[in-house]
Symmetry: C2
Subunit: 334 residues, 2 copies
DNA sequence: CTGAAAGCGCTTACAG
DNA sequence: CTGAAAGCGCTTACAG
């Protein structure tokens, strides 16, 4: 029903192999090129990617697998990646696995069955799946975002989680804070553990004894951040500064602070994580650690693309992107 | 290189047509069925969707096109849709168009070239694209979410935007509020216009004269909501209640209220829109209009699936889903 | 219920 | 540079 390469060939008076070659960027006689281009235009021909994929064993799609589509960090990264991939005519197929190891396996198999050419994975709290090894065995490139997945030979792009924490806490220390609390994320995630580690290292480096009651856990959620902050503020000896380790906990904590009628930074200093709209709407705007989601997405995309195209130089790569601190007014010098 | 239907046939000692029929759920002799199942298991056979798609002209993928992947409403809907589609072995291909009409056209063509079987579209502030008509011409089903797109013959699923506003404002009126402000979204979106309309109708129904200074516009963003609220609170004669018409503006407005050191609901009553985590973390929890994103997503998914499968009964459908009000403590009775 | 065969729309050695 | 031909992994009338 639709117009095929064969129709174009007939109209342009060439063989269909020639049309195919034209489509794939080979040189051909000027004269033929022009006739083919005319025919394509007149007929409104469009390539059939399915047929092409069947022959070339490429689907021109990259799978994206993440815990939740409503996670702002991941979707920001994906947005950037999609832009890069689209430039090369790749589209993205998205699946979420709702932090369930079982669902993760299932989705990975699901996508594999659709012969995706590459995979970008946000593992979150899940572990290296068996299904993932099947990708590696079959030579399908996998790029993992913000996770280490020890023992898994794939490319990985991460931000400097530990260093980000270190510098955030160091900055507080330089402002003469000593009673610095952290609101941690899940410790069964790589980012959660790394960010906690950076906090501990900064304290250690400056010979500050970590205090158990300042170390709280907010599960990376709004409510978690809220409750952790509340607990901190209720302490007989509350911290002078709070550092939260992701976006959602940041706003939960800010709400708790507002509610306690404390002012930032007069009553309590604050450093948040992730730099999205709300961070600057809040008054005062928050000093935060910014993850370069656009760079991460771009890097992830370019890396899969390289691998998909067969360039396996420096495999496996462990690519790091630096966070930066957005300096606003939520930290007071003591 | 990979194992095909032909290998299975050989091993099971049947023709490859028989294997194909088995795969597609036709009945066959018990004896053959068992041998085929064995062969599939032993060989680790997996269908090649590309080849299948080439013959059947179905790619088993549904395109999802939206303005931004970081929009919580849309991603919530998509999450629900993805679940339903995956049950039927469909996957989703996602593109965002960053509120650019041109990009929208481009992405629609891009996806069409990949022979998606159906499309779920969140048009936002964009208009019916030419590319969209090509879908209709080619019989590719399109389901539009939360938009009316007059003149476009497709299925549409929306929430009761105007009625939602009406009821929210009516509730405020019943609590004896008369000075009710609205923070509107973009008026070049369907949802923005409808929600505004419901507000005006409620006032009219209860013979309340709308006041210009109470009608503000926050562009559906955090900052917009913040600034609109600020303006309202600075009024010589400020409203006794504020109604915000989406999630992002709700939190911008709450921040402005906090900042003005006003208490909800003692100093000002408040009804928000959309029910996500933060709504309940805030103190007091906000009374909000909840959009049933899961139902919307499910409905959108089931509708494309029906059409994809050729069931065009009642086409085009205009499906409405009711919002409900989550009653919390942010509204005071005057 | 099943086999043999044609064909979906492309790509790609192989000759020339 | 180009044509003719084989084939990617499936589906589906057509006979039987």
């Amino acid at each position: 029903m639709s117009v095929t390469i064969r129709d174009v060939a007939k109209r342009a008076n060439v063989s269909l192999g020639t049309v195919s070659r034209y489509l794939n960027g080979y040189r051909l006689r000027e004269h033929n090129r022009i006739r083919i281009e005319e025919a394509i235009r007149e007929l409104g021909f469009r390539e059939n990617f399915l047929a092409k994929g069947l022959k070339t064993n490429r689907s021109m799609t990259i799978g994206v697998v993440l815990a939740s589509l409503t996670d702002l960090f991941a979707t920001s990264v994906i947005t950037a990646a999609e832009g890069i991939l689209a430039e090369d005519n790749y589209s993205i197929v998205v699946c979420d696995f709702q932090a369930s190891q079982e669902k993760l396996e299932q989705k990975l198999r699901f996508l594999k069955a659709r012969s995706i050419d590459g995979l970008i994975l946000f593992p979150g709290s899940c572990e290296a799946a068996d299904a993932l090894r099947e990708y590696l065995d079959d030579g399908i490139p996998v790029v993992i975002v913000n996770d280490d997945m020890p023992g898994l030979e794939t490319d990985k792009v991460t931000v400097d989680n530990a260093s980000a924490s270190f510098r955030a806490v160091e900055w507080l220390i330089h402002q003469n804070h000593r009673d610095i609390a952290i609101i941690n994320g899940d410790q069964n995630t790589y980012t959660g553990r790394e960010r906690y580690k950076g906090y501990l290292e900064a304290l250690k480096t400056y010979d500050i004894q970590p205090r158990n009651e300042y170390i709280t856990f907010g599960h990376f959620s709004n409510r978690g951040g809220y409750e952790a902050a509340k607990k901190l503020l209720d302490l007989p000896d509350p911290p002078t500064a709070i550092y939260t380790t992701n976006y959602y906990m940041t706003f939960g904590a800010v709400i708790a602070i507002n509610e306690a009628k404390l002012r930032i930074p007069e009553d309590i200093s604050f450093i948040g994580f992730d730099h999205f709209d709300l961070s600057d709407v809040i008054n005062p705007p928050l000093t935060v650690v910014e993850q370069p989601t656009d760079k991460l997405g771009e890097l992830a995309a370019r890396t899969v693309l390289r691998r998909v195209k067969g360039d396996y130089q420096d495999f496996p790569m462990q690519l790091g992107v630096n966070t930066r601190m957005i300096m606003k007014e939520s930290v007071r010098t003591l």
